[in-house]
């Protein structure tokens, strides 16, 4: 019995530690992505396309670094989706396609929110 109890205690500690690290990292990265997306949107609204493009390229570079960390504890489908939306936004700015640009920004926001809220202690996640 003692072994089973010790195993349970150590396992619970490992779960709590991993949760704290993984959920924290995911929330922070998700939050930053939301902020970057917000900055892109403001730049697009003010028709500052050059700055918007710089922001997107900077975001892509930043995302490639974060993806490695996130791969440990986030569905790859979600991390791939963010990368795809950033690419779409960049291409839309280059080709001056407004509809695709706004669609890309919307898609990026949804993906960022999913990232931010994934595994958060919310009833919808438990259910």
């Amino acid at each position: 019995m003692r072994q089973a109890v010790w195993v349970a205690v150590v396992s619970m500690a490992a779960i709590l530690l991993l949760s704290w690290y993984a959920d924290g990292a995911r929330r922070n990265i998700g939050f930053e992505l939301i902020e970057r997306r917000h900055a892109m949107l403001e730049q697009v609204k003010h028709n500052d396309m050059e700055k918007a493009m710089e922001s997107v390229m900077d975001a892509e570079k930043w995302w490639r670094e974060k993806e490695e960390t996130l791969a440990l504890f986030t569905h790859h489908e979600l991390t791939d989706a963010v990368g795809d939306w950033l690419t779409q936004i960049l291409l839309a700015i280059e080709a001056d396609r407004e509809y695709e640009l706004y669609a890309g920004l919307e898609g990026l926001e949804n993906a960022a929110r999913r990232l931010h809220e994934q595994d958060a202690f919310l009833l919808k996640n438990i259910l």
Binding site: V7, L72, F73, E77
Partner: protein, 236 residues
Amino acid sequence: MLTVFIRVVVLYAFSVLAMRLMGKRQVGQLQPYELVLALMVAEIAAAPMENMGTPLLYGLVPILGLLVLHGICTALAFKSMRVRRLLFGIPGVVIRDGRMDIAQMQRMGYTVTDLMEELRGQGYADISQIQTAILETKGRLSAFPKTIHAPLTAEDMHMEKKETGMPHLLVMDGRVQEKHLQESGHNEAWLEGQLKKMGVQKMRDVLLASLNGENILYVQQKKNEMPHIMPTGGDA
């Protein structure tokens, strides 16, 4: 593809470790709640194995969670009879004083076919020989024959027999089992001497060497030969 293989290795090792930490060696020894845990570990480990998009941690953390639950259930089962009854169930007497308890069998969903199969498995083809049979919580049947049909013991024959104790496995697969050798009260030099008397020159040629309570040494070599059986006389 190599990454798939590495994920499989990690998940398999973790699953085996989890099962070992549960403290049972065979599936047959699992209580119902442990069997559920074992099945779930297999299911959970399979998901990230099949799907590269699922992070490894999504397989490892649920397995850790199951270990937590197992620990909690085990601890509670030790402390409380009520919890034990809830998790394990209770054994049921299906044959009492030589008579089948049909009501009990119905309650436990145990058919006559199941009963006869289990009795035959334990070497009892004739149910009339059975005094008591208990269906255990792990699903096994413990059958106790009537005294007249029970195997004769030394006590029945009014014979005196001294306790021989457990045999010691001294060598397995060519390797000396130091702990068992010490427990038997001998050392490696003694063992080598005994092996040489049998014509066995090297320890690594020995598949199995066992010393029983009557100081008889049994040695089976890796070569396909008849085993050597030799009394050692109890000399140290």
